[in-house]
């Protein structure tokens, strides 16, 4: 049976067909749906782990115990999981272990565009790169065999255009492989120096064997055509080369580490001019250069951003498609940056922070949008969990006075992911940081995943909620306040008090994400034109529904979800519920 699947769905399907028993992940675009789809199969246990490190530890525990396991994360998640990853290459596995790393060239939804292949190489594990959903499924299945044959974790590296593109996939049945025998084997799984020294020798020998394997593996193949130009490529870029360079010979690499050196040399010899077309880093190209083979790559293509079919046309000097020219208007068009949604609970907080001109050490989530105009209420955003440490550092460098108008802002899921350790540092090292945990009862930006604070697992089972108040108190924070971020007066008062206090404090702003709120009255508000004084105070909320029209404002009732925050800031009582009295 054939089905149109995203790359992410295909990976989940591949894991199921391969007899995987445990799937773990922390959500992160573009990888999130892999594990959401994995959770749809009853035969597989699937969990949202608190972070990627825990996800890999759970996955590798399952593998060591003899079951096949898949662990999925976005590229920056691999940074978090790097610690177990590097040593897992030493221990090897028992049941197959696959790490899916989803890169985001072009940074559609990421804070950097690092290339995960560097991580695979540094950890000394094989890397597979599928070029469509069919390969995403096939390579996932193949990876488990490879993992078990060579006793190593395997990395499946995808990019946004593989993860989120839909192409047709031939489905197969699940093959129950069962559990491998579990035997205690301390010299293999306990990495004290004496044992690790022995294992490192095995890692290096394994890389040689994997390199031999890659020479003849069906993962790598040559498509001969005209030999004037030869292109070595992998992943979705292969599809773009096929689309644009119809005459070129292509060496398509499905396995990009270790590389098939002999196959590449043979291909290079038979073409007049050799190109490597790869997104992001010159990973393949650098190897080829180190072997003394003449090759073009990043002299023609950038290391920055995506490569698309039109990029290849332009960089290879081919004529562009005859299109509609809008260049004279295109540059002047207003941009459309993403915004906090209508009704977003974070809006209240950032409105007050903006008003108080507070220095805000920020974090990763929907609330990062508080950094954009007109709120402009964020000073730093580095990585998951960085806000609290950043705020401590600011205080330690500039002194306690600086902390009197300084906060760390972090979401509930991000706090669990890696904010707790920062908060422990606040208390332990006597910082006076005010930490604001934005508790919107979900993991918002990635599309509403459960987390330990929501009361449900990935599979929808109810569990005991993690109690944020008790947790931060247990860390040693004595000042803990819970406030509704739409109660602006109270929020401002609490903020001023907590920032003024020369001791650690935590403010939990608790209000459900507007997109999952099924309870509140969603009747939109309207503005009485007679009553509106044109003060424009409501415009400072950066609500996409409030539109300036002449000297007054109007509400876009098609978008308004009736949250009423604008009512709170309007001094003229000009904003009323649609259909209500006194309009």
């Amino acid at each position: 049976m054939k089905k149109l699947l995203t790359g992410n769905e295909a990976i989940a399907r591949g894991a199921w067909e391969a007899g995987v028993v445990v799937c773990t992940a922390y959500p992160g675009t573009p990888s999130t749906q892999i594990t959401e789809h994995a959770a749809e199969y009853d035969e597989m246990y699937a969990e949202w782990s608190p972070n990627e490190k825990v996800a890999l530890e759970v996955g590798s525990g399952a593998a060591i115990a003899g079951g096949r396991a898949m662990v999925a994360m976005k590229h920056v998640g691999v940074n978090v999981a790097a610690d177990p990853l590097f040593t897992l290459a030493y221990t090897g596995i028992n049941g197959g272990l696959l790490l899916v790393a989803a890169d985001d060239p072009g940074m559609h939804s990421s804070q950097n565009e690092q290339d995960s292949r560097h991580f695979g190489r540094a950890a000394k594990i094989p890397i597979l790169e599928p070029a469509d959903s069919q390969e995403a499924k096939d390579f996932t299945k193949l990876a488990f065999g490879l993992s078990e044959s060579f006793d190593t974790p395997v990395m499946l590296r995808v990019t946004t255009r593989i993860a989120h593109a839909q192409t047709v996939v031939e489905l197969a049945d699940r093959q129950e492989v069962g559990l491998k025998k579990y035997e205690k084997n301390a010299t293999k799984y306990v990495m004290i120096p004496a044992y690790a020294r022995r294992r490192h020798v095995i890692v290096e020998a394994r890389l040689d064997q994997l390199q031999e394997y890659s020479e003849t593996a069906s993962l790598n193949r040559i498509e001969w055509n005209d030999t004037k130009i030869g292109v070595i490529t992998s992943g979705v870029t292969y599809q773009y080369v096929k689309e644009t360079m119809k005459d070129a010979s292509i060496l398509k690499l499905g396995m990009t580490f270790p590389l098939p050196r002999k196959l590449i040399a043979e291909f290079a010899e038979q073409v007049d001019k050799l190109y490597v077309i790869e997104e992001l880093e010159p990973f393949i190209e650098d190897y080829i250069k180190s072997w003394g083979i003449e090759v073009h790559g990043k002299d023609t293509f950038s290391v920055i951003g995506e490569i698309l079919p039109e990029t290849i046309l332009e960089r290879m000097g081919m004529p562009p498609a005859k299109n509609i020219d809008n260049s004279e208007v295109a540059t002047a068009l207003p941009t459309r940056p993403p915004v906090l949604c209508p009704g977003c609970p974070h809006r209240g907080l950032f409105y007050v922070l903006s008003k108080l001109k507070t220095t805000v050490a920020g974090d990763i989530g929907c609330y990062t949008l508080g950094s954009l105009a007109p709120l402009n209420a964020m000073d730093t955003t580095i990585c998951m969990g960085a806000s609290i440490g950043n705020a401590i550092g600011m205080e330690k460098a500039r002194g306690k006075e600086f902390a009197r108008n300084l906060v760390a802002v972090i979401g509930d899921s991000t706090f669990i992911h890696s904010g707790i350790t920062g908060l422990i540092d606040v208390v332990y090292n006597k910082a006076t940081t005010t930490t604001i945990i934005l508790d919107n009862r979900t993991t918002g930006m990635t599309g509403h995943q459960e987390n330990p604070t929501t009361g449900f697992t990935l599979k929808g089972e109810p569990i005991k909620e993690l109690n944020l108040e008790l947790l931060v108190k247990a860390v040693g924070v004595e000042r803990v306040v819970v406030v509704d971020p739409f109660d602006l007066d109270k929020l401002e008062k609490v903020l001023k008090e907590e920032m003024a206090a020369e001791e650690p404090s935590v403010i939990i702003t608790r209000r459900i994400c507007a997109l999952i709120d099924k309870v509140s009255d969603k009747t939109p508000f309207i503005v009485s034109q007679a009553a509106c004084s044109g003060c424009m105070r409501c415009m400072k909320l950066a609500c996409p529904c409030i539109i300036k029209e002449g000297k007054k404002v109007r509400i876009n009732t098609a978008q308004c979800v009736g949250c009423g925050l604008c009512v709170t800031v309007c001094p003229s009582e000009a904003i009323k519920k649609e259909g209500g009295a006194n309009v």
Binding site: Q239, E310, A330, L333, P334, R336, L369, P374, P544
Partner: protein, 190 residues
């Protein structure tokens, strides 16, 4: 048209472009075509500029439509139509929803909305269909079905039988919302 038909759907996050492309993909699959779709999830969905690229036919390599090779541009919003216009091939077709959604820079007064968007589009293309999606969706019974009104308009251009579209809608849309969506689709089609 060549072996491949390229349809670019653009709009603003939250307008329902993804559901529209899902139905379209189902229809062309039922008609026996190979299909590839590219879209972006994540941050841009929060009210940002969004797009879905649908390609169907045979021997499709790239999941994205190469710049300048879209046969049809289905735009859910006027400014987005103008922004993505250069993806359209020279004798391409455009279907535009006559709706203005101000982006934040315009709301703040930092940038001006191109009020002549429709005139600019018409000056560059012969085949322009303007659709009043909001009115049609409201008439159908739910303003949120603008996406199905537009899909109905697109269905006229593509020419597959109405029954196939309805069949796929039945498979894709929850029963609770099906009737109003079909009504909106038919309003766009007729």
């Amino acid at each position: 048209m060549s072996d491949i038909t390229n349809i670019l759907i653009v709009g603003v996050g939250g307008q329902g472009t993804i559901l529209a492309s899902k139905v379209l993909a189902g229809v062309v699959q039922k008609k026996g075509y190979e299909v590839k779709i590219a879209e972006i999830h994540g941050m841009s969905q929060r009210g940002g500029s969004v797009f879905t690229q649908v390609r169907y036919g045979k021997n499709i390599a790239s999941p994205t439509i190469p710049h300048g090779e879209a046969d049809i541009l289905l735009a859910f919003e006027k400014l987005e139509a103008l922004r993505w216009l250069s993806y359209l091939k020279q004798n391409g077709i455009i279907l535009v929803n006559d709706q203005r959604i101000d982006p934040m820079p315009v709301i703040m007064g930092a940038a001006e909305y191109p009020s002549d968007a429709m005139d600019v589009i018409k000056s560059k293309l012969q085949d322009v269909s303007v659709i009043d999606g909001v009115s049609e969706a409201t008439k159908a019974g739910n303003i949120k079905t603008v996406n199905m009104v537009l899909l109905g308009s697109l269905s006229k251009v593509l020419g597959f039988e109405e029954e196939v579209w309805i069949e796929v809608m039945k498979e894709t849309i929850p029963p609770k919302f099906l009737d109003v969506n079909i009504k909106a689709f038919q309003a766009g089609r007729n």
